[in-house]
Amino acid sequence: MQIPYTVETRPDTGLYNAKLGIWLFLASEVMLFAGLFSSYILLRTGSVAWPRHMLPVGLATLNTAILIASSMTMVMAWAALRMNNWARHRVFLGLTVLLGLVFLGIKLTEYREHIAAGELPSRDTFFAIYYTLTAVHALHIVGGLIVMLYFLGPGSRLWAQRPEQFTNRIESIGLYWHFVDFMWIFIFPLLYLL
């Protein structure tokens, strides 16, 4: 028995199953990050003194550019499937994974430098919220990369069996990846620029 609405849209929501699920999931994830932003605002406005310009802006700006680029390659990966170009899809999805790994590598470098300078979460409230926000975001990057690697690996078999459903799954992971970019667009200025 075939599960309905894996490709065709539901009449009540106008979405297929995976897209409905991912949008609901993203809404819950936005609330998670909003709670963390709320904590940041509470801690910052409630403190007598708040350290500023403690973080490497140049490196973080580069990381922001890398994440934006990965969002674009993710769009290209999905668009290639829509045009039935399997090889091009693989290239762009692989590029997205690579850019995500570079982002994590730069983030780890930052963490290493902070730890070497004794700037641990226990040092002060600023570093506590910095590590919390960026680590939660980094974990989301890791989760997205795991899913993308699955679709580059064993998950890619679905393309031969049900190409439309596979395209929809790539669209769904694409939405998740853009959300990760969306969150970083706010985390970056909040921690690095203000």
């Binding site: 979405l15 936005v30 709320s38 509470l42 409630g46 802006v57 674009m72 970019d181």
Partner: protein, 85 residues
């Protein structure tokens, strides 16, 4: 195009943050407004929130209302109780 616009906005935010003449509060407001435009572009053009069904639009509107409350509440709370950290 959207990616390039995002990069430009990011660099603009960095530039504004480095300029001291605006003052701390006005500078922070300017930086976050640029971030809001940047994020809005991701939501509208990259994620295609406007192209989706009405269900998604209502979900986005609901989330925006809840976020507004979550972000405004701490500042208001502190203004009532005073700085404690």
């Amino acid at each position: 195009m959207v990616g390039i616009a995002q990069l430009v906005l990011t660099l603009l935010a960095v530039l504004v943050s480095q300029v001291g003449e605006l003052g701390v509060r006005l500078g922070a407001l300017a930086v976050m407004l640029i971030a809001a435009v940047n994020g809005g572009m991701v939501a509208v053009f990259t994620m295609g929130i406007r192209r989706e069904s009405r269900f998604v639009l209502w979900l986005a509107a609901l989330v925006l209302v809840l976020i507004a409350g979550l972000l405004v509440w701490p500042g208001w709370d502190i203004s009532q109780r005073g700085r404690q950290f």
